[in-house]
Amino acid sequence: MGRQLLEMAHVTAFYGDSQALFDISLKVHAGQLVALMGRNGMGKTTTIRTICGLLNIGSGTIHFDGQDMASRPRHAVARLGIGLVPEGRRCFPNLTVEENLLVASRPGIWTCAKVTDLFPRLGERRDQLAISLSGGEQQMLAIGRALMTNPRLLLLDEATEGLAPVIRHEIWAAITTLKQENNLAILVVDKSLRELREIADYAYILQRGATVWQGDISALNRELTMRHLGV
């Protein structure tokens, strides 16, 4: 197992007066693919938002590569090496594919050429506006944009939701490549249990804003999935 990159310890978070996270603790190591699972509304996306500084934490700690993340400005989170692929893709609609990638560009191994190697469709649509891309292509662009920040940890929030099976397959293949060939730490929020079983190393299950189970994904048996995920 690689060096520990991310550590959340007993994190709580609020939306106004409403508490969304009660006790989240998780760790991600370099080169590890960790799945964050749970039913809808259990706090998966909120957990991602707290890591990125989009939501302030109430108590607990978040450390990335030994550095305290509390009260860091949002742009500093990305500069530390955390790349976010947000739920709903959220590209820059009036920029071209290439511009979407370039705007996020930071020094490192990931370049436009490397991203288009990973997603050849993006290379074919280099000069197209992001708004004119299909949902799957926009998702690829969102992943590519996050990679252009040359992250050490990639956060994927529902990266395959609502996509056609063939596109989902392409995206899972790309995620596998990222893990195997680039040794990138990845924290994935997704409902695709079958794919996660194939590539994830470790899993956390959230329920009502708290971590209720963690372990090797191989240890996630039928009884656990029925109880916590309802599938």
Partner: protein, 328 residues
């Protein structure tokens, strides 16, 4: 070459041809009108950087236009009176040299824009509009209540300031100075648009949060754009003061801010030469319709409505026949 580039070249070419023709037929008034278009376009190019590219809807750009004008006026009046501007441990004299005045204007405008921007770019939407408007009005009332430089009556500049190697008193040569400044600024803005800075600014207009998530500090980015924008509009103010040989508090008024915004919207927000088209159309309407009725602004209002409702990319987009792309 894209259609928009052709339209831009035609617009800039037309702006040059009119005074060349006017000079040939000895019509200095037409040259002065063209100079006004060039100066107003420059002010619009400044605002367009903040508004079109950065999405910063400033209703206080008259503050920069006015500060540019007053910088030129104050430096010139001190030079003409042989009275030092600052007479203490350091002695700073006035100047009648345009390059010196421009550099001073750029510095003064940048300082003012930094002050206004540091407080305003943290906000967005209607709050940003109101803060910039408030600063503009503060500058307006400050200029009125400053009797040393004319107060409400304004400040005359007895002789137009000098440009090395040219006779700035000749309307055509002064036009060329203003035109050259406009063209250089447009060229620099085009480079800026294509740079990483321009790209990030364009992105931040679409979503500041998404830009932050890729590691860019949006406050610094927007503030830089606002300062550059204020500097360009300030430079236009200095040229306007030289054109009229007079500066008055009206340069600071919110109507001036509104007019600069109209140049941008008519021509096309985020369009490189949109302000040239907008300022040109404004001056043409002012002189065609202004001769028919004192209420010509009603027609301008109608035209603005038509542009906003049916041609959101402004005149340049309409002429280029392209879909609005950079428009937010």
């Amino acid at each position: 070459m894209s259609r928009e580039t052709v339209v831009n070249l035609v617009l800039l070419g037309s702006l040059l041809i009119v005074p060349v023709y006017a000079r040939a037929v000895d019509d200095p008034f037409l040259i002065t009108l063209s100079t006004r278009v060039a100066i107003f376009a420059l002010a619009g190019v400044g605002l367009n950087l903040a508004l079109g590219l950065g999405g910063l809807v400033s209703l206080g750009h008259a503050a920069f236009f006015g500060i540019g004008g007053y910088t030129a006026g104050i430096l010139a009046s001190h030079a003409l009176n042989y009275a030092p501007l600052i007479d203490g441990i350091i002695v700073i004299n006035g100047s009648r040299s345009m390059p010196v005045i421009w550099v001073t204007t750029l510095i003064v405008s940048a300082c003012l824009a930094l002050l206004i921007g540091a407080l305003s770019v943290r906000t967005t939407g209607v709050y940003f509009i109101m803060i910039t408007l408030a600063f503009g009005q503060m500058m307006y009332y400050f200029s009125i209540s400053w009797p040393a430089y004319g107060g409400e009556d304004g400040l005359p500049i007895a002789i137009r300031n000098e440009f090395p190697g040219l006779n700035s008193l000749d309307p055509f040569q002064f036009f060329l100075i203003a035109y050259a400044v406009l063209c250089v600024t447009i060229f620099l803005i085009s480079r800026l648009q294509d740079s990483a800075f321009g790209l990030a600014l364009n992105a931040v207009r679409q979503s500041a949060r998404r830009v932050e998530m890729v590691g860019i500090a949006t406050f610094r980015l927007r503030l830089t754009a606002f300062v550059l924008s204020g500097m360009i509009t300030g430079l236009a103010g200095a040229l306007f003061a030289d054109l009229n040989r007079f500066v008055s508090p009206s340069m600071f008024s919110w109507q001036t801010s509104g007019e600069i915004m109209i140049f941008v919207i008519l021509g096309g927000t985020a369009r490189l030469c949109g302000p040239v088209a907008g300022a040109g159309m404004f001056i043409i309407l002012e002189h065609l319709l202004g001769g028919i009725s004192d209420y010509w602004l009603i027609f301008l209002g109608l035209l603005l409505l038509v542009v906003v409702l049916f041609a959101q990319g402004g005149l340049v987009s309409w002429l280029a026949g392209e879909r609005v792309r950079r428009h937010g």
